[in-house]
């Protein structure tokens, strides 16, 4: 059927992704040593999401997959976000 | 007197019931009737071959998506309005604290008075603050359509108003263990005058000045676990307890003892020191007991022959 082609991700691309990840790690550690108050959580989580994105796109090769897997991943992530989000209607307003 | 403006909880909830039940019954009967009609009209002996092969009809589909949508949204809104009514405590409500423990009720009034039944004045809204000392219980008075879980560590409350004097059932609605179904008491709605009297004099001598052990045992919930007639419960029966020989487990070992006053006292103030063989170590430590109360309880237990 479809999507049977195998992409070979080069060592170079993977290494570049790894360097980006190390850089982002250093960045998180860096900004969380500063006193940013509530923005700390936001900043750290944004960077974590970026890092997660890099891992998924390159290490897990999502960049090279067809539409189906991307959609499914999207559904799973949205589900998790909704579970957490709706719970906060209780947590925030109790 | 300036009466505060409020509708009783029963009057708030009942119309919602009537509306949803009404709509549901109509819908249900329509569906069931149509179905039965089709089955009878198009049964194979009468209609050996299907006379139509329509597989969809956009118009119909839209209608029966849109109409139920409107209907359920109405139900939702009506239900929500009613809920708001249940949550908005009228001003000037009388405050009572209900303390639930496994498996008994205790109600405390503003002046510190206690009772095992909930006494309320007729016509005056009552706000009940719900406190649990152990697990989740539920405060449920069917007659007033109110219910709220009693969650340890949380400040939940409900309000209601009794518009007629009488005695109404009060249940523990949230499952809380063995004695769940015996966590039943009543709301006693008294005419305002009588209620004032009760508050002041304990309802005409019912609450004697001297500590009454039996009443205390009732109030503190001992009788939820300990029977007075020898029948087995969650804890050992009080009947004939004094002087009995019991096997207790303490610190890993078992030993036999004869029940005496000191042992009773210790069992009440430090229940986990000696556990009677064959029972679970679940008896609560009642730290709010005064020494006098403990004495009264011991005396009472001694007297149960």
């Amino acid at each position: 059927m479809d999507e049977q082609q195998h992409t070979i991700v080069s060592y170079g691309t993977l290494t570049a992704a790894w360097i980006a990840l190390l850089f982002l790690t250093a960045l998180t550690v860096g900004i969380t040593r500063l006193d940013l108050g509530g923005y700390k959580v936001l900043g750290a989580l944004t960077i974590a999401c970026l890092k997660g994105g890099v891992v998924i796109a390159f290490f897990m090769q999502m960049r090279y997959e067809g539409r189906l897997l991307r959609w499914l991943l999207f559904v799973a992530l949205v589900t998790l976000a909704i579970f957490i989000g709706i719970t906060f209607f209780d947590v925030l307003y109790r | 007197m300036n009466q505060p403006l409020f509708i009783s909880t029963t009057e708030t909830v009942d119309p919602v019931f009537i509306f949803i039940f009404g709509a549901s019954i109509v819908l249900f009967l329509a569906i069931a009737a149509t179905m039965v009609f089709f089955v009878v009209r198009y049964r194979r002996s009468r209609a050996p071959e299907p006379t139509s092969a329509v597989a969809s009809n956009i118009g119909l589909e839209i209608v029966w998506t849109a109409l139920p949508t409107l209907l359920v949204l109405t139900m939702f809104w009506y239900g929500w309005q009613g809920y708001l009514g249940l949550r908005t405590v009228p001003e000037g409500a009388l405050e009572v604290t209900a303390t639930a423990r496994m498996w008994s009720w205790n109600f405390t009034y503003t002046d510190g008075r206690n009772s095992a039944k909930l006494y309320v004045p007729v016509g005056k809204p009552v706000q009940v603050n719900l406190v649990s000392t152990d697990v989740i219980h539920g405060f449920f008075i069917p007659a007033f359509r109110v219910k709220r879980d009693i969650v340890p560590g949380m400040k939940n409350q409900v309000w209601f108003v009794a518009d007629r004097p009488g005695s109404y059932d009060l249940f523990c609605s949230s499952y809380c263990g063995t004695g769940h179904s015996s966590m039943v008491t009543t709301v006693e709605a008294l005419p305002a005058k009588q209620f004032e009297e009760w508050l002041e004099h304990g309802g005409g001598g019912e609450e004697a000045a001297k500590l009454d052990g039996r009443k205390l045992a009732q109030e503190k919930g001992c009788l939820g676990c300990h029977s007075l007639d020898g029948s087995p419960g969650v804890g050992p029966s009080f009947k004939g307890l004094m002087g009995q020989k019991v096997t207790v487990v303490s610190g890993g070992g078992t030993r036999e003892i004869i029940v005496d006053e000191a042992y009773l006292r210790k069992s009440i103030t430090d229940p986990h020191a000696d556990i009677v063989k064959g029972f679970q170590p679940i008896m609560p430590t009642l730290s709010d007991l005064s020494p006098q109360q403990v004495e009264a309880l011991v005396e009472f237990i001694e007297g149960v022959k």
Partner: protein, 537 residues
């Protein structure tokens, strides 16, 4: 049993091996399906006997046959057995495995060995749950909801039972991912998404719920075990924990789980009704779509179990609203089923009778769900017998009756023998009547204020409870007749070939019983699942 003179061939005999090993190590989806059928139905019988005991105890106020402790253990075990051992694995495990691969035109599921592992995990978990009844400090007494703080402090054998359920969760996840992969990858040529049977569609939706919701149950159960064994105190109010967070986690799984129970049942009904009306199903697209919609919207409404818990009022608003949204796709399905009957040629054989009574009972159950979904009315009926009535209507009257319909509809295909029609109809009638007497009275009791999980009750509830108990006996008689008839029929009934009901889906196009790999050569699908005219030509 005289099996030798029996023409039963197909997957029963052409595997080369025989004996027990050829079953419990088989990776054939049909054998695994039958394993699930026997196991789940066995547990159903256990649960049913426990349910009967519950009703027996409630026949009179006060102690009738057991004390409070025993009653609490019995309803907990009844609930756990029915939910985790019967109804959740039942439909996907038994009928999903038996017919879905054939319906999509596949030789087997995508991962046959994983499929076998699912069954083993399920049996392992079930045995652990059963072990928990006879070891430790006695059977769990928490209710199937395992609410903290009670479940963290009761002395009974909760941890082991919870561990068993945890294992069963894995089995559900594996089944789910197997089915999704199968439906995506193994459809035969010409089997487009628009030609899938509605049963397959419903399993697809179910599988997504299994995959996305079950992990939350797994972590919740792990946390209960940790609470009990390590003293983590995550839900202990004394140490800053919040019991309501437990309830959130539990219902994030357990509400979607009720759609795991009902969706395949709806799918089976959508397959059966057109066949017995000889008419294409009305509104195929809407029914398929509403399965997905129910799965999606149903994942967002868990808070309706917590309206009285002390959760924020805003959350009550949101959850109540979302709950009503789920009712819409269910309504669409009901209307479409009824319209399918219009101008058909309806034959009232046993599967159809069960299917039609499914519509009635599910509607009653679902409509009482609306009372529960509305915030004001739920406050009164929450934790009363009304809720018990509601969920027995949807679970037993809904899924249970659909399960019986599926048994009468599909099992002859797999056993190659037929049951007798008349006893099946009598059994159906008794069950339908007994069922309504049993559970309708529960709803009335709930309206009057009788709480659930009460082993003893006030005298004012006595009459209705007695009536209800009598209903349970009528139901019992019906159930026994149905079982005896089915078992006799499937083992020694009249052999048959071909397509007794005139179904147009793929499972009716292959030999009876189906051969091991279903299709001698991969089928090419040229018409939709309910296209009865195309089939005749």
């Amino acid at each position: 049993m005289t099996v030798s003179d029996h023409p039963r061939g197909g997957f029963w005999s052409d595997t080369g091996r025989s004996g027990l090993g050829s079953w419990i190590f088989s990776t054939d989806h049909k054998r695994i399906g039958l394993l699930y059928l026997f196991a789940t139905f066995g547990f159903f019988l256990v649960g049913v006997v426990l349910g009967l005991l519950l009703k027996f105890e409630l026949m009179t106020p006060g102690r009738t046959i057991m004390g409070a402790e025993a009653y609490n253990a019995v309803f907990t075990v009844h609930g756990v057995t029915m939910i985790f051992l019967f109804i959740l694995p039942g439909f996907p495990g038994a009928f999903g495995n038996l017919v879905m691969p054939i319906q999509v035109g596949a030789r087997d599921v995508a991962f046959p060995r994983l499929n076998l592992l699912s069954w083993w995990l399920y049996m392992g978990g079930a045995l652990i749950v059963l072990t928990s009844l006879f070891t430790g400090n006695g059977p769990p007494d928490t209710g199937w909801t395992f609410y903290v703080p009670f479940s963290a402090r009761t002395g009974t054998n909760v941890s082991l039972a919870v561990f068993g359920v945890f294992i069963i969760g894995f089995s559900a996840i594996l089944t789910g991912l197997n089915f999704i992969t199968t439906i995506h990858r193994l459809r035969a040529e010409g089997m487009t998404w628009g030609r899938l049977t509605l049963f397959t569609w419903s399993l697809y939706a179910t599988a997504w719920v299994q995959i996305l919701a079950t992990p939350i149950l797994a972590i919740t159960l792990v946390l209960i075990m940790a609470e009990r064994m390590l003293g983590t105190g995550l839900f202990d109010p004394g140490r800053g924990g919040d019991p309501l967070m437990y309830q959130h986690l539990f219902w994030i799984y357990s509400h979607p789980a009720v759609y795991i129970m009902i969706l395949p049942a709806m799918g089976a009904i959508s397959d059966i009704i057109p066949v017995f009306s000889r008419k294409p199903v009305f509104g195929y697209k809407m029914i398929a779509f509403s399965s997905i919609a129910i799965a999606a919207a149903g994942s967002l409404v868990w808070g309706h179990h917590m309206f009285t818990s002390g959760m924020s009022d805003r959350a009550v608003l949101v959850f109540s609203f979302l709950t009503f949204i789920v009712a819409i796709p269910s309504a669409i399905k009901v209307f479409n089923w009824v319209s399918t009957l219009y101008k058909g040629s309806i034959s009232l054989e046993a599967p159809m009778l069960f299917a039609l009574s499914f519509i009635i009972l599910f509607s009653i159950g679902g409509l009482t769900g609306l009372i529960l979904g509305a915030a004001a009315t739920d406050v009164h009926v929450h934790d009363t017998q009304f809720v018990v009535g509601h969920f027995h209507y949807v679970m037993f009257g809904g899924t249970g009756f659909a399960f019986f319909a599926a048994m009468h509809y599909w099992l002859p295909k797999f056993f190659g023998r037929r049951y007798r029609e008349k006893p099946a109809v009598i059994a159906w009638a008794l069950m339908f009547i007994g069922f309504n007497i049993l559970y309708f009275t529960m709803k009335v009791l709930g309206m009057k204020g009788m709480p659930r999980r009460y082993y003893d009750y006030l005298p004012e509830f006595a009459t209705l409870n007695l009536v209800s108990t009598i209903g349970s006996w009528i139901l019992a008689v019906g159930l026994v007749i149905m079982l005896v008839n089915l078992i006799r029929g499937l083992l020694r009934g009249e052999p048959f070939e071909g397509n007794p009901w005139g179904g147009a889906t793929l499972e009716w196009s292959i030999p009876t019983p189906p051969p091991t790999e279903n299709f001698a050569r991969e089928p090419v699908v040229t018409h939709g699942p309910y296209d009865f005219t195309a089939m005749k030509e």
